[in-house]
């Protein structure tokens, strides 16, 4: 059977978006032209810094090198790193981190846009899944038909912090982020205030892992296999936890090799095999997938039953079957007896009739004799 044609992979979507942005597209597309790039990159530099501090002067010298870096070549990253000469110890560390991160990861650049409805008081949300360090641009756009709305004040916020944004076009505003750490994930929001107020939120998250909603049922002495899958994103590591009371205890399969076997079947799938189940193994298990940007957990439930549990309905049904079969056979014997009785009676009646006819005949002949 053919593989499902449903495009469930956000990665694919990302790639498409990337292609769109690189190819130019139509004016309506949220593409970043090189001119805008220079602006945005300058702003993004500010953004990097404002990740921790609110504002600082922008060194304009980095503009051009930044342009080239949208293509993502490692050498440019290095240049970039070098060119940033901003004072401050924390910034240097940040800069260093930036450098190493960009060294290590293939810089992916993605864009997300929310189209704001012109209705006041609305809040639109978008969930964005990131599994590795990414450069991301988030933008809020107002539909052209609402461009008559003047004097709009646009604010971008991350938590409580206000971020500097750029005016991409007349009706769209965006921020550019470089995400390399779990601490940078969260909710980024843009608010348009004017005569009407509109709100849009981007939720940046690590990929979710789905466990199983329904419990896995197994039996004492049997083996149980629990499977966790990651859809679309490859985790760097998998860890399994079992709940002991209220705390989660990591499962060490090398320590208890005859009880637990953890097998990474493929890049996105992990198996936990529990051998020789007992009642104590009953409970909730967690599979944790580690990504560059953080960790994500999936929940699975294991139910361990004793063999008596299915045995009771089994015996009940077998007993019912035996009863039914006996009833059917007894009914058959009974109806056969009835038939036989009826047949015997019939025969008896026939014989009686014959006898009576005979005797009648004799009487008749005797009466005849007498008469004669």
């Amino acid at each position: 059977m053919p593989a499902a044609f449903s495009g469930k992979r956000p990665g694919l979507r990302l790639l498409l978006l990337l292609c769109l942005s690189l190819s130019g597209g139509s004016p309506a597309d949220p593409t970043v032209t090189t001119q805008d790039a220079s602006h945005s990159q300058a702003n993004s530099l500010t953004k990097m810094q404002t990740g921790l501090n609110v504002s600082s002067p922008e060194p304009m010298t980095t503009t051009r090198t930044v342009n080239r870096q949208t293509q993502g070549s490692p050498s440019d990253h290095l240049t970039f790193g070098h060119n940033v000469s901003v004072p401050g110890p924390d910034l240097t560390t940040q800069e260093f981190k930036q450098e190493t991160k960009e060294h290590v990861s293939n810089a992916t650049f993605v864009e997300y846009e929310i189209l704001l409805p012109g209705v006041s008081g609305t809040s639109t949300e978008k969930n964005i899944t990131l599994d590795r360090a990414t450069r991301i641009e988030l933008s809020c756009r107002l539909d052209n038909k609402y461009s008559h709305l003047k004097s709009l004040q646009v604010t971008w916020k991350w938590g409580n912090e206000t971020l500097r944004h750029i005016n991409k076009t007349e009706n769209s505003w965006g921020i550019q982020l470089r995400i390399w750490d779990n601490s940078q994930l969260g909710s980024y929001s843009c608010t348009l205030k004017g005569e009407e107020e509109m709100h849009a939120v981007f939720h940046l998250q690590v990929p979710k892992i789905e466990g199983k909603e329904k419990p896995i049922v197994s039996y004492e002495g049997d083996t149980a296999v629990m499977i966790c899958k990651s859809y679309g994103y490859t985790p760097t590591a998998w860890t399994w936890y079992m709940t002991n009371g209220s705390e989660q205890v990591a499962i060490n399969d090398s320590l208890l090799a005859d009880k637990y076997v953890i097998n990474r079947v493929s890049a996105n799938v992990t198996h936990l095999k529990i051998l020789k189940l007992t009642k104590e193994d009953d409970g909730i298990y967690w599979c944790e997938a580690g990504f560059e940007l953080g960790k994500s957990k999936g929940k699975l439930k294991l139910k361990v039953l004793s063999l008596m549990v299915p045995l009771k309905p089994f015996l009940a049904i077998v007993a019912e079957v035996i009863v039914l079969v006996t009833v059917v056979f007894l009914y058959e014997i009974y109806s056969k007896k009835k038939e036989k009785c009826a047949a015997d009676e019939k025969e008896f009646d026939q014989i009686e009739q014959l006898k009576s006819e005979e005797s009648n005949g004799l009487e008749n002949s005797s009466t005849r004799h007498r008469k004669i």
Binding site: S6, V217, S218, D222, T223, V309, L311, I317
Partner: protein, 509 residues
Amino acid sequence: MPPLANAGQAPGPPDGGWGWAVVCGAFVSIGFAYAFPKGLAIFFKEIQDFFGTSYSEVAWVSSIMLATTYGAGPISSILVNRYGSRPVVIFGGLLCGIGMVSAAFCTSILQLYICVGFITGFGLALNLQPSVIIIGKYFLKRRPIANGLAMAGSPVMLCTLAPLNQFLFDNFGWRGSFLILGAILLHCCVAGALFRPIGAPTPPVKPQVTGKGKDALKEEVTEDAMEMGSPTKVPMEDKVEEEGGKACCEKINQYLDFSLFKHRGFLIYLIGNVLMFLGFFAPIVFLAPYAKHIGIDEYSAAFLLSILAIVDMIARPTTGIIANSKWVRPQIQYFFSFSIAFNGTCHLLCPLASGYTGLVIYAIFFGLAFGMVCAMLFETLMDLVGAARFTSAVGLVTIAECCTILLGPPIGGTLIDTFGDYKYMFIKCGAVMVLAGTFLFIMNYYNYRMLAKEEKERKAKEENPKPVRTENEGRNSWNKETTRDGPELEPLSKEQEGLKEEVNGINEV
């Protein structure tokens, strides 16, 4: 049971009374035989994870079960010929139960193949054939209705088993479910208990030949439904067999009638059905994936199958009633060919269906066509070969169909994989079935004409009696007289054949 001398006065098939209880039993039996392999699919995902195998390896379980159910047909026929329906069905039910219970304790996929595939499959085979056979023994006038009702067991059981299996799986896991399903399959034994033997009991194999030959039952009446001449085509002549030389063949033929392969109607049925099954099951297998492919969500896709099953459920008894009416019964073969062609046309039109509404309409028509074909599947075979030879016929037909049934879905799957589009699979299935329907239509027209001709010839011969055959003619004319009254008395000769005392005729093919 009445002795040989009174065989002529033994009653024909009751066409009612205890027959309806037999229909209930057959309903359960046939239902399990057809629906159980399909219902097991719910467990496959879990079993696949548990044993760490691929999906196709697990799907083999179902395929082996289906193959055994159809492939063990001849064995089933032989056993029924020897022991009668009841013991075979009870034994089959026990076998199913044992198979599933032992499957609950399996530790490898190979053991599952054996326990679920072979043992349970064989048990279901021992259920399917005798149930179909005994309906022929209990019914004649109302046989199509009885067949339609009994075959309705399949969709009803499927609709019951699917949610039941899901419930069992959620509460007991796959092992516990297999255990309980083993107990549920024991209800086939109850069905078997209902199959009271009827007609003279089959005498044990007598090695000596009494001069009339214990030959296989020859040409049986096929025109019991024809309104034209007399219903019984009385066997032509009394063939005296040589002892010893043919004793071996006779023995085999007594159990499994290979001479059926010389029977014109049987051959037509066989070829037509083997062709039909190439395209019969594949659309059902691929309906849900096709729906998901064109963008319908899982639950609506599953609902399509439910619609199909519900329409099927209603269609089968209805078709039985229609097939029993006096307009259709004589030409039941045409009705059968028409329903096959109708089925094929549905498949050919399916690619034109766009969106969910189109698929719902397709599912309704498909369910209707599927039910019509299934309801008449065995009825037409009974009509062609007669109830006495039906035992062997059904065994031979099922083993021949076994290959194409198994080939159908994989061929469809290959087409889908090669072209990446479902429509070629539908076109292939539709084309094959329309072809099969047309073939059956034409060949049955020819068959009816040949039978009419043979009937005329027989009548002509009877009007010019030959001296050698006086004794036989006497018996023939007696048969003719007693059977001239109508199809009801046709089983009279069947009684005699059941006693293997029947005058043997030659099949004039």
